[in-house]
Symmetry: C2
Subunit: 343 residues, 2 copies
Amino acid sequence: MQLTDRQKLILTLIIHEHIRTAQPVGSKSLVEKYNLAMSSATVRNEMSALTDYALLRQPHTSAGRVPTEEGYRFFVGNLVQKSGLPTNTRRTITHQFYQSRQDIEQWLRLAASVLANQSQAASLVTAPHAEKAIFKHLELIATRGRQLLMVLVLMGGEIRQQFISLSEPVSQERLSTIAAQISNMCTRCDVEKISRMRFQMDSLGKDILDILIAEMTLIQESTTGEIYLDGMTNVLSEPEFAESDEARQALHILEERSLLESLLASTVMNTDVGGIQVLIGGEGTWQELRQCSIVLARYGDPNTLTGSIGVLGPIRMPYDRTISTVRFVANVLSDLVTETLAV
Amino acid sequence: MQLTDRQKLILTLIIHEHIRTAQPVGSKSLVEKYNLAMSSATVRNEMSALTDYALLRQPHTSAGRVPTEEGYRFFVGNLVQKSGLPTNTRRTITHQFYQSRQDIEQWLRLAASVLANQSQAASLVTAPHAEKAIFKHLELIATRGRQLLMVLVLMGGEIRQQFISLSEPVSQERLSTIAAQISNMCTRCDVEKISRMRFQMDSLGKDILDILIAEMTLIQESTTGEIYLDGMTNVLSEPEFAESDEARQALHILEERSLLESLLASTVMNTDVGGIQVLIGGEGTWQELRQCSIVLARYGDPNTLTGSIGVLGPIRMPYDRTISTVRFVANVLSDLVTETLAV
DNA sequence: TTTTAGCACTCTCAAGGCGAGAGTGCTAAA
DNA sequence: TTTAGCACTCTCGCCTTGAGAGTGCTAAAA
């Protein structure tokens, strides 16, 4: 499909105008609004051609044109100019990150909040997660009676805590010794290696190690880390979600962790860090996202520790700006992660 | 305001019927639906009286009656029978908790999910939080160069992690020694006590301790722990939130952490563990909650470690059932917390 | 005194009709 | 190839209208 420059211009303008107004765009009003050096009839002819290409459609005979999903896809793929964010926006965002607490959780929360505010849509951020769980440190803390708290730190800074009930009370000294022993023995080991060390431990040590192994396996099997959401209410103010049932379906995907995970797994997980993926209208696969688009990116340290970020909004979304924002925030997070978390 | 038994009955039935249908309730249909042993005219007279008491209102002349907020309040305060949850529901819920991982985070997430599903509304759960931060254990883990990871465990199991940049690299051994020293020295101490121990430490130890103190102060100053939400999309399916702007306002309160915190602070924080608080229609104070009701409870170990749970739904909410559910889940969480977390 | 039957009245809601407005496609001229 | 002109189409808001549901009041019945 080869478009003339004029057709590209008109498509771009229609998309811009439609994003602004959420209304079908007519030939005459387009010419007036943008002072085009051609008549509405010419525009009409071009619109007709674009409609033949299935890039535009008419909601009804004799209404203006609206971009189709295909139209948006063409726009995103060929016409969107990678403008980058204005420098003062970049500065504001960077500033927020560097003045927040040095805490990965805060950063992720902040990333979600920034994405939501900048794009006025819903945002999601998953914590960085390693494909392979590598042990770093173990801590055992007696709490009361036979109860103890296990704190497991993985390479890359993932932390898991869990309560354990032992068959009999054990002193804090004994626990500390075991924890130190395991910590020394297993540093930088993966699950398999740790499993092979099991025989070296005494009975209590074996029990602890088993729990540790189970926990590490669990972490390794999960596809993403913790998920942070923000701006869910933003999408409710979009006119296409005025009847809240549409909104419900879309937001439900974010809320239901398993749905979201499989969505991420089948899309952005295959993307390289730095790359951007845009899902428009669910791409035919995701029924619940029929009315939505998602802009996704992957951040982190390729091959070791990565997470996803994304923005969910109406199909009628300012893609250029959203893509720039997502890309920028992904880069900021990548920097923070590689600076502080890397192995 | 003293109501006759018949007036109480009619109020109760109207509320039930309105909750079921979301429609104004008329005298004739009420008599038919519930096979009342009186005529519609009698019901009309009583309705008229209840309207004079401001417990009912007419959306328009000659529509049926709808309960006012005052009507719901009277209902919740006087008429709701504390039925308790059906035993098999209780069993299902308990079962879910005891078969989940022994992890406070999982429990809280599960609690939010159970509340959301049982009540088909939005739910919130805050992590148990101690009024006073009491030190339990510190761990320092070298990551790379001058970076290290500080893991702070408080009495009650609150865990905070933070990255720290030192002025120069320090070996893991040295870090472990310092961590052990601080852990021994400060167990069961509050911020003030720890501050007074500062002089005992060497320069590096002082730096660490300062960060530790800052962190503990921060935790102590925050009014709630981590917040878990679920079922936000449930409220979107209620007919009163069909125009999503109303829904937006209500859900915004949940999403904006600061709003939610001040809401909790001014309500449920003053409630005893085990008590239930019902906010109907924002009680005149919370503009954004005009269309909503919230059922709140406090769980945990009184005076030491408490959190809040709650359900947000439309004013037209099945209060009896919701209250039972919230109370039951609060009890389950209280048990779990006192069993595993208590000091 | 309380309850009920009957009736006139009110108000909403859905359906249908109508005109204004915006947009289109086509044709013929520039 | 572009444009002016024109007939045509479709939506949307507005109005009217009738059905339906509910009310309040009054007078009779219990």
